[in-house]
């Protein structure tokens, strides 16, 4: 079989080789570069989408956070208000209760004092009567006779005068 010379130029072979390179270029472009680049583009899009989704979610979370923080702050001030108003109310009420109690106590004391006075007076009157009775018995015994009512009264009056007590009411 024949061989080419080591160096031999052939126009048609050159042309064929040129076309071969063009052909390989087209093959690589069509079957390797474009599918891979399409896929890379898709992947890029997917990644971008995920990033934007994440950013959106973050934004939403941030706004939610701000909202809830505001709410929390409001709630704190509200609680403070409620507490202070409750405290004020309680103060007023306590004041009321104390003053009422004081009034009542005063009344009770006054009543008690009045009752004591009455008792005292009663007791005094009784004691007077007792004394009169006893003194009547004693004088009777001492005199050896019965004393009449008149005597009795006289005697008693003088006696009382001697003690300096107040008027009897019988």
């Amino acid at each position: 079989m024949q061989s080419m010379e080591v160096i031999s130029v052939n126009i048609w072979q050159i042309l064929i080789s040129l076309c071969n390179l063009l052909l390989l270029f087209l093959i690589l472009k069509k079957f390797l570069f474009s599918p891979v680049k399409k896929m890379l583009q898709k992947r890029q899009n997917e990644i971008d989408g995920q990033y934007s989704e994440a950013a959106e979610a973050k934004q939403e979370a941030d706004s939610n956070k701000a909202f809830w923080e505001e709410k929390l702050g409001n709630a704190e001030t509200q609680a403070q208000e409620i507490l202070s108003s409750a405290a004020a109310k309680a103060d007023v009420r306590a004041q009321q209760i104390v003053s009422e109690a004081e009034g009542r106590a005063d009344g009770i004391v006054r009543q008690a004092k009045a009752a004591a006075e009455l008792e005292k007076k009663k007791a005094e009157a009784e004691i007077k009567k007792e004394i009169i009775d006893v003194s009547a018995v004693l004088t009777e015994k001492m005199l050896g006779r019965e004393i009449s009512d008149d005597d009795h009264k006289k005697l008693f009056a003088s006696f009382l005068e001697g003690i300096g007590g107040s008027d009897d009411s019988n």
Binding site: M4, N10, I11, Q13, L21, L24, K29
Partner: protein, 297 residues
């Protein structure tokens, strides 16, 4: 990772077979048509048949056939790489495909700028066809890159591209550029313009061919040396060229693998540099702005 369906695997295997088949075909063709030859032989590509064409007859040679085989292989490899491609990588080969594309695009953008980013597939094609053609020697086939016609075709295509981009500002601007920096240097500029594709073609072709020639010469020399030094061994032992073991393999790593890949890379680099440096970007921008302005007016 998902367990791939039987159909997917079947298509995979089919694609791999299709990618390897051209190489096997080439080897078979070589074995069938190549008569066993002894001794040193440095010749061009084997001619299978000749087509009668005007101007010059077209001999269909090994280099033609082999470059078509390379194209077939690369085509099926592309299909294989992009088979089952998805946004979430499920196959290792998808990562390889992405790596190839990202690397070539980075290379092209780095060397040629953003304007030429569409050149990535072209540069990848140059790298692929040149490297694979040179690497065909590894399986014993004739490397098309050691045929001047093949490489000249690529160089001429690159030259056409260079000239096309130089003419982007119009033919007048292109012709004026020859009178740069002083008009009487124009002949030299014309020569340097023509020298570009010639030097590219000869550099690539010469490197690969010289590698083959040196390999053959050294193999022959080693055989002679082996006969001389170990010829006293009795019987068959004396005829075995022991010195041919090992040394040609090391040389093959340099001349076939390293030199082949390096020349492919150099060819691609030169393509990128010539095209991007030949393109008068500044003038083109001015011209474009002027056009836009005149259209507005």
């Amino acid at each position: 990772m998902k367990i791939k369906s039987v159909k997917f695997l079947a298509v995979d295997i089919l694609l791999m077979i299709l990618a390897v088949a051209p190489m096997l075909f080439g080897i078979a063709l070589k074995i069938l048509t190549n008569p066993a030859s002894g001794g040193i032989e440095i010749a061009g590509a084997r001619i299978y048949f000749t087509l009668k064409l005007p101007i010059q007859d077209l001999p269909i040679t090994e280099s033609q056939i082999n470059s078509w085989l390379v194209i077939f292989s690369v085509f099926w490899l592309c299909i294989y790489f992009t088979h089952g491609i998805s946004e979430k990588p499920q196959t290792k080969r998808q990562l390889i495909a992405e790596w190839i594309i990202e690397t070539t695009e980075k290379l092209v953008k780095g060397n040629m700028g953003e304007y030429f980013s569409g050149f990535a597939p072209f540069v990848a094609a140059i790298l692929a066809i040149s490297a694979f053609s040179s690497l065909l020697t590894l399986i014993g086939l004739y490397p098309p890159t050691s045929d001047i016609n093949i490489v000249a075709g690529w160089a001429i295509l690159v030259f056409i591209l260079i000239t096309y981009y130089k003419m982007k500002c119009g033919p007048v601007h292109y012709l004026k550029s020859f009178g740069d920096p002083v008009p009487f240097l124009a002949p030299l500029n014309v020569i340097s313009e023509v020298a570009t594709p010639v030097s590219m073609a000869f550099r690539h072709y010469g490197n690969i061919l010289s590698g083959t020639v040196i390999s053959v010469l050294i193999a022959a020399a080693l055989q002679g040396l082996s006969n001389m030094v170990l010829g006293w061994l009795p019987g068959v032992l004396g005829e075995i060229p022991f010195l041919q073991i090992g040394i040609p393999a090391v040389l093959s790593i340099y001349f076939d693998v390293f030199s082949g890949c390096l020349q492919a890379f150099i060819f691609a680099m030169l393509t990128m540099l010539y095209i991007s440096s030949g393109f008068p970007a500044e003038d083109y921008k001015k011209r474009k702005n002027k056009k836009i302005k005149s259209e507005v007016n």
